[in-house]
């Protein structure tokens, strides 16, 4: 190696050495203490705990039985704490300026608490359907921060979020982001066992924004309405299958999934009622085609053009014309392209339940929002 090459190498190594920047935690610089809010009681949700202390409130999220193990926690300080306490703990600020979300589902809770104006970055921005939330995001100039579901560090850092709400299944990436100054917090509301338990996660968000009373009032009101409407036992004469095939395979949710709970609360009986699990079950198409001839209802949640009808469904595959549900016009459909199923639907399980009861003729007066019978 020549002298010139050696010099160049030395300069390059020197550059690398000095370019190791000392990173400063931005939360260390701001005042993080806030007044202790009204304590909230958790009734149904199993995926998070709130611990109240004089000095701080700790919010912890964790896995449920049967899921991949994870645990995460975040602290709201009520007085200035020592650096030894704040070191390696996630502390949320007193005054929020910026939030990023990995899932559009998180927006539902934020909207109910009037906090969507804080959302500056979102994964899958283009998938948010038209409506007030989309309008607010446009007003915020919210940025797309992901490619696919993977957050892009620079895009995230550019938003300078005080918190980045994430799914738990990217925990490795979350740890990396935490190291690089993006404070993450795992939200796993979709692992809850009932729609009401999922709704109760609004209390977690409420604690972060000191809106406990508003959240509790909303939760109690929805819970009351939901429980009044919910059927005691599913009717075995009203069996249903769920969804559409993906290629050669028909993925059916396990019977303990949220959507099946909602549908069984409406008095329908899941054909795969005894198949419990944490993952979707894969069935060959021809098996479901045979079952389709026997069950009364078929519930579909899918993205289709506006005005999608039974004839369009049968045009997708002629065999659907042999389904009992199609013959008797008992296909219950939620069009995710035209409804806010994935966002607002999360905090409106009572309206979804009402839709389903109306579709199954249990109630007579109702204007459907999410689910309706295909005509």
């Amino acid at each position: 190696m020549g002298k010139n090459n050696l010099s160049l190498c030395s300069v390059f190594i020197g550059f690398l050495f000095f370019s190791c920047v000392e990173h400063q935690d931005k939360l260390e610089m701001s005042d993080t203490s806030s007044q202790k809010g009204e304590e909230v009681a958790i009734e149904l949700a199993e995926g998070f705990n709130i611990t109240y202390q004089d000095e701080f409130t700790k919010i912890e999220t964790h896995s449920l039985v049967g899921n991949e193990d994870f645990q995460d926690s975040i602290f709201i300080l009520h007085r200035q704490m020592t650096p030894s306490f704040t070191k390696n703990r996630k502390i949320v600020p007193k005054n929020w300026t910026s939030i990023c979300c990995q899932s559009s589902t998180h927006l539902a809770y934020l909207q109910q608490l009037n906090q969507t104006d804080l959302v500056t970055g979102l994964c899958g921005l283009s998938y948010v359907t038209k409506g007030p939330i989309k309008d607010q995001l446009e007003k915020n100039k919210t940025a797309e921060i992901c490619i696919g579901e993977a957050a892009q560090l620079e895009s995230l850092l550019a938003q300078n979020p005080e918190i980045y709400f994430t799914y738990p299944f990217s925990s490795e990436q979350n740890r990396e982001l935490d190291k690089k100054g993006v404070q993450t917090f795992m939200i796993a509301e979709y692992l809850e066992k009932t729609p009401l338990a999922r709704l109760e996660w609004i209390k977690l968000f409420a604690v972060l924004f000191q809106q406990e009373k508003q959240a509790s009032t909303y939760f109690d009101q929805v819970k009351k309405e939901y429980l009044q409407l919910a059927q005691e036992d599913p009717d075995t004469n009203k069996k249903f299958i769920f969804n559409l095939p993906f290629g050669d395979t028909w993925y059916a949710p396990s019977s303990n999934s949220l959507i099946v709970q909602l549908l069984e609360d409406a008095g329908l009986y899941y054909y795969f009622h005894d198949e419990v699990g944490t993952e979707n079950m894969a069935h060959p198409n021809e098996k479901i085609w045979e079952i389709g001839g026997q069950v009364s209802y078929w519930v579909i949640v899918a993205s289709r053009p506006e005005g999608f009808n039974l004839a369009d469904l049968v045009a997708e595959n002629e065999v659907y014309g042999t389904f009992k549900s199609v013959i008797h016009h008992q296909v219950i459909f939620c069009n995710t392209a035209t409804t806010d199923y994935f966002i607002k639907g999360v905090i409106e399980p009572h309206i979804m339940l009402k839709d389903l009861l109306f579709a199954t003729h249990k109630i007579r007066e109702h204007n459907p929002v999410y689910f309706r019978l295909l005509k």
């Binding site: 894969a282 045979e290 993205s303």
Partner: protein, 335 residues
Amino acid sequence: MIHQDKLLISVVIIGVAALFVLNVSYGDVSIPIADQFYILSSGKAEISSWSYILENRLFRSITAVLGGGALAVSGLILQVYFRNPLAGPGVLGITSGASLGVAAVILGGFALENQLTGVSVILSGVIGASLVLFLLLFLSRFIRNQVTLLVVGLMIGYFTAAFVNTLFLWADQSETRAFVIWGLGSFEGLDKTQLITFALLVLLVTFISVFTVKGLNAMALGHEYLRSLGIRTARLKLLMIIITSVLAATVTVYCGPISFIGIAVPQIIRLISRSKNHAFLIPACFLGGAFLGISSDLIVRLSANSLPLNTVTALVGAPIIIWTIIKMNRQFASL
């Protein structure tokens, strides 16, 4: 045709027929054999879904036979054209070109909006495949080394894949879903009209390929020999491009990008028969491709669809390609 070749053809025909019957009669839903005969003869079934189930099995079996055959013939012609045993629609980027054409239509948002979708998808797939092949032919003027040409083909494949990825990121959810399903590769899902179009295209173009037999035999002995026979090289080459593009694009459009059949089958046939006569090699490769196609589909179904088609074809095809590379390496070393 020598005795060994006749035997080979007979065995493959029997094998394809047996697998075809098995693929139609076997499934997750058990339909009694008597009912199967009754449904296939009268179209009526005791349980209404059975006729659709049986029709679906029949259609996918026909698609597997024709699709596998088409890819194998396409691969055989390309291997003669480029005088390279590793040439095939997948390796040379022709499948990627067809994918780009399909992506432009599906991810471009036209998939559900007009009746011409089928035609537009086929046309765009054929155009994409042909463009890649023409580009490859143009570049081959400047490249003498066979392996380099294959690398160029792979690069073209990556290049078109980059465009496809960009379209994918811009597309909306329902379009990407349709494209992802298509990209997994499957012989399932063709309706009657699509199957008729698919079958007509494959059978017609495979039949036309018979007219290239003389040229292919001569080309296999070298371009000088080809000219000495007075064969119009330009016309022959154009015909070969059209045949390979239409066959590869038709299968890619209807079944998704299916790898390895195009390269592996001609190698296996050459290994068993050692015939240099394309009057034998074309039908033998078609039948060999049909055998690999239907057996792969049967494995997919036996696995309850847990193994995608491309995984199965790769498990069979990749070892054969590695073996071919080792063989080529030995030949080069002995020169």
